[in-house]
Amino acid sequence: MCSPTARRVLAAAVLTMFVATPLAAQDTTSRGVRIGLTYDPGSKPGVVVLPVIGATGDSIRAIVQRDFDYGDRVNALVLDPSVATEASRASGPNWPLLARLGAAAAVQLTPTATGFHVAVYNVATKQTARVTDYATSAPPMSRAWRAALHGIADELEEAFTGVRGIAHTRILFERGKRIWVVDSDGEGAMPVSEVGTPVSPSWHPNGRMIAFANYIPASISVLDLGTGRARTLVSGAGVFISPIFSPDGANVIYAHGADEGVDIYTVPLSGGAGRRLSVGRGSDNVSPSFSPDGRRIVFMSGRAGHPEIYTMDADGTNVDLLTPLEFGENAYRASPDWSPNGRLVAFQSQMSGTFQVFTINLRDRSLRQLTSDGRNEDPSWAPDGRHLTFVSNRTGAKQLWVVDIETGRSRQLTRGTTVRLPAWSPRLPAE
């Protein structure tokens, strides 16, 4: 048994072993959101999702349980049916059993006429810690209904750990001449664009609009996910590649080139002519990604003779080589994505004739290899700055995978025909 002081010291020691994300994230949590669960520092709080009544009960429980599991911050305790029945009695939670199972909290979800009634139990204090009613008019099992449950799971995760979950997020990707979207748990994959030659989708910060490039006709399109309407933002001769929105959502930054190399441009979302930012002098400059504060852009450039990763100010000045240039080696580093907490840039690097996903720490430029099995590329950060989605052929066809950069745990997100160029959404608004 640790004394409170010893526990704090231990917690600090454990936290410094990892990227300091949890600590910083907790500091920004508004007062009163978090419930004071008791669990060993350095471990994840055990949470039991109690059996849910009604025809959709099993689905509700499975969805929330899986969201906790995929979030990697909560130990979702999956119980045998007989034990699960025992854990929840008419008189209330079975405190001794929950304690024996190692649960710090138990969650009881109940579908109601207007949505969901959610009670959270604190096992250590044997008290109801939180009761909340969530409204949703979405039909059971629909996309919006699942989204509502993901949102509840995210809020509960924040109550348990201080960090909001990423269950109610989606991932865009390219498959078979269309842009597709899939929920963070791999469910509900569906195309969102018309058949054409779309490539490199990205999210508007509001989560309601996307941008993508087209090969033919060479152009950048923006698409309203609510109405399904697309419009051409810029087009012309040559190529248009890799559009992204500025963090304030007002501009679209993209790569374009015709006869004199490919450079990075900016254009107002409201329309107008593109303005060049990078000065590539005939080289290729593509795949921009903004720092979270919008002041810097990380991008890939072939200006040194082979693809490397650079940063520049948002106006194109102060260019700096980010990845270490290795002389004599024809390195190939590409597809940078700036983490939402600003600390890391994920990218792909050529290794023994294939690609692997790495992160580089912006403070000390230390590199970390995250993958080793098969060809792994196109990393994109989840809004928690802890999970990455990327393309991997480790099981054959190229599919999307998700890795937790703290534990290295990974899971397959998509199945079916090959995919590429994923973009993880910000946390999405309620539907």
Partner: protein, 198 residues
């Protein structure tokens, strides 16, 4: 090292291939019959005759080749216009074989000023999709620059890139990659191509 060897092998192959194409077939002169026993003078005369015959044959062959080029059909000319050019890995530099392929297009384009050409750059699958789109564009632009340097009007040549999205052949070896690192040519207004005057 392995890749370098492969590139070297390819370069050698392409040079050999080119050489084979360029080599003119020069007929061996028939031996000259002589009833007299050979002496120094007659041998010298024989050699001179052989040399003259050889030159005459070469000139005849050259004339026939020139005349043949004039007789190329519209289809044969179109085949020259659409012949692809190939690139080294992650490069847009025009190799000698690419220059030779482009040089063959120039007189046809000069003789047919109404023809425009869409040049499409392609890459192999090894890089990233986004960089490959840029690389394909750079290859198309390089081809256009070369043709305009040979006097073809800038406005007749458009460029675009399909990156790695449309490989010419499937496969994950260097031979497949080499066939996919290419620029393709789509002529418009080329229904009634006339042969260049030699």
């Amino acid at each position: 090292m392995i890749r370098r060897t492969a590139v070297l092998t390819l370069a050698v192959c392409s040079v050999v291939g080119l050489d084979a194409c360029r080599r003119k077939v020069v007929p061996t002169p028939a031996p000259v019959a002589s009833s007299n026993a050979p002496n120094a003078d007659s041998l010298a005369a024989l050699r001179a005759q052989q040399r003259a015959d050889s030159i005459a044959a070469a000139e005849r062959a050259a004339r026939e080749a020139a005349a043949a080029s004039d007789r190329r059909t519209a289809g044969e000319l179109a085949a020259v216009l659409t012949q692809k050019v190939y690139f080294d890995y992650d490069r847009d530099v025009l190799r000698d074989d690419a220059r030779a392929t482009l040089d063959a297009k120039v007189p046809i384009l000069v003789a047919n000023p109404g023809v425009t050409v869409a040049i499409t750059g392609h890459t192999d699958e090894r890089g990233t999709a986004e960089y490959n789109l840029a690389l394909g564009q750079r290859r198309a632009a390089q081809v256009k620059r070369y043709l305009t340097s040979k006097g073809i009007d800038d406005a007749r040549l458009t460029t675009q890139s399909l990156g790695d999205s449309q490989p010419a052949v499937q496969g994950t070896d260097e031979s497949a990659y080499q066939q996919n690192r290419r620029a393709e040519f789509q002529p418009s207004g080329a229904n009634n191509l006339v042969a260049p005057r030699s």
